[in-house]
Symmetry: C2
Subunit: 337 residues, 2 copies
């Protein structure tokens, strides 16, 4: 018999469909095609800096100039930006009904490495650390734009996860509206705080630490686990143990610890599931609701192993064929250096 589970933080239900359950190892054949290494035409490879808009941030050797080789992390505005820093913030209505506004915002690309064929799981720890430091810098910068309502950082790894360019990169988007989905998440967290006087994500971390069965990894300050109501096989959350609503308040020291544990988590997924496509997302509190006691920043990794069909799209209820406790055990047992 299957089971319905509710995520205590989001209040979203999932169906854990054990009757069609797969063993965690059954997913090992979901392989990304190997990168083609077409470095000549890749706009993100060193030497091709002129193919992108001018960089807004980089870590590079001190004698090199912007938009030339010598960088190891490089941030540029997205050439095909969904949102751009132009236009008006005012909203208007067509026929007193259809609300719209200019596509005002920020959309940046963070090139994670000069090496075309690396990914977060296979880069050095130092490289991943600098990526997270760059996330922090750009998140701080974009949050300060008075038009920003939400800053989200995400990485699409592999074609099924929606990426079109192989070269490892993340994206950072600042939206001029609070997305309804985020508003609902914040409202649920606020309601929990009103009822219990604590942050629901803090409560979740505490419960998971006590129960142990869904934990994948742990460090002094971070917890990696499969949520009780995982929406898809191997959905993975990374939470700071100490309450904090905004990722970009992280100290450089903690960013280093975070980079280490994210890399190790991704390496377990890479090895255990044979490099599946995935989306990684960094969620923070909305820009005008910073430093709140009821919301908690977190990283979510969603391997794109199962697909969303009419039921998921229509109801928001996902059907997950792997029991989260088994997924956690599977990932715990994957040995990485």
């Amino acid at each position: 018999m299957s089971q319905l589970r509710q995520n205590p933080a989001t209040k979203e239900w999932v169906i854990i469909a054990t009757d069609r359950s797969k063993r965690p190892g059954d997913f090992c054949d979901t392989v990304c095609p190997p990168p083609t290494n077409d470095v000549e035409h890749c706009p993100f490879c060193p030497g091709n800096e002129k193919k992108t808009p001018p960089e807004v941030f980089s870590y590079r050797t001190y004698e090199t100039k912007a938009d030339s080789p010598g960088w190891w992390v490089r941030v540029i505005p997205n050439k095909f930006a969904a949102l751009e820093p132009k236009g008006k913030i005012e909203r208007s209505k067509i026929d007193h009904f259809f609300l719209h506004m200019d596509g005002l915002g920020r959309h940046e690309v963070l090139i994670e490495s000069p090496e075309h064929d690396k990914c977060l799981a296979t880069m050095s720890e130092k490289q991943v650390e600098d990526i997270f430091l760059a996330y922090r810098e750009r998140s701080i910068a974009l949050s300060k734009d008075k038009n920003s309502e939400l800053v989200i950082i995400f990485e699409n790894h592999g074609k099924n996860a929606g990426t079109s360019l192989e070269h490892p990169h993340s994206q950072i988007i600042a939206t001029p509206v609070t997305p309804m989905r985020v508003r609902h998440l914040v409202e649920e967290a606020m309601r929990y705080f009103d009822d219990h006087g604590t942050c629901v994500y803090c409560a979740m971390a505490e419960k998971e630490l006590a129960l142990k069965e869904r934990i994948v990894l742990e460090s002094d300050n971070f917890l990696v686990f499969q949520p009780f109501a995982s929406r898809s096989p191997f959905e993975t959350w990374i939470l700071p143990k100490k309450h904090e609503s905004n990722f970009d308040n992280i100290s450089p020291e903690l960013a280093k610890e975070l980079a280490f544990i994210v890399r190790k988590t991704l390496l377990k997924i890479y090895k255990g599931l044979n490099n599946p496509d995935y989306n990684l997302m960094v969620f923070s509190s909305p820009c005008h609701e910073r430093d709140v006691e009821y919301y908690h920043w977190r990283i979510q990794i969603l391997p794109r192993i199962s697909s969303m069909a009419g039921f998921e799209l229509g109801t928001g209820i996902y059907i997950n064929t792997v029991i989260p406790e088994e997924a956690a055990k599977f990932l715990r047992d994957v040995e990485v250096e």
Copy 2:
């Protein structure tokens, strides 16, 4: 410059990203592989009725027996059901925190035709009419189950839309919980009703009829249009013009008109976009909120032309590269018999 648009009914934002806009015709190369016609092993083909659970409903010639050939629409419980009519309705909590319950509910498959290689767009009008009459019968039956909170009917067409079996079929699921997404939709509709004294979907239909630019098709009782804030290229909504909250209240005469207009819409999509994968969903009011003045049943068709990536998954804001007014014009101009 791109534009942000909000759906007045759902309050969800989308980004219409005109800078990376594609012309509607650019999508014509998204082709489903042709069906392989492996009728010998297909559990949904006539003659293989014993490969499925016993039928719960069928339209068949009068002298034939259940679970034998002679049917033209056949409904069976899903062999790999996400939810089943067994277990307890009571919810319980693990450690006073993690809410769960048995996977109690109904999950049926509606085999749309004895012919393996047809789809809704290419079937006869009479066949599609009988499919919609069967939707109605099963929706009425499942809604009456006291444990049902929501009944959703959906069709996944093509592999990218999440189907694993080629033989044309739909699914009907009754859930024992109201999904959060549906609760939010109902609450938004209720709020609009409180503010304006009318159903927001009725208001939307009225506005679309007045503006005309997003209308694809129209009949006496139904309106087919591209929503102002379409989430993906060619997202299509079909609304009854007269207020009604539950699909299964439809009369047999109106079901016939609906089948005709749905088939024609799908044929335009099939011809104009070269048979793309899609999800079709029939949304009704929750089972314990029937016949309400603030919610409106509707059909949504979501071609799976673009993919959801980290931004969409994280924020719920979709990036749509086709302007809905252009998509509507494109589909209006596709000639079908």
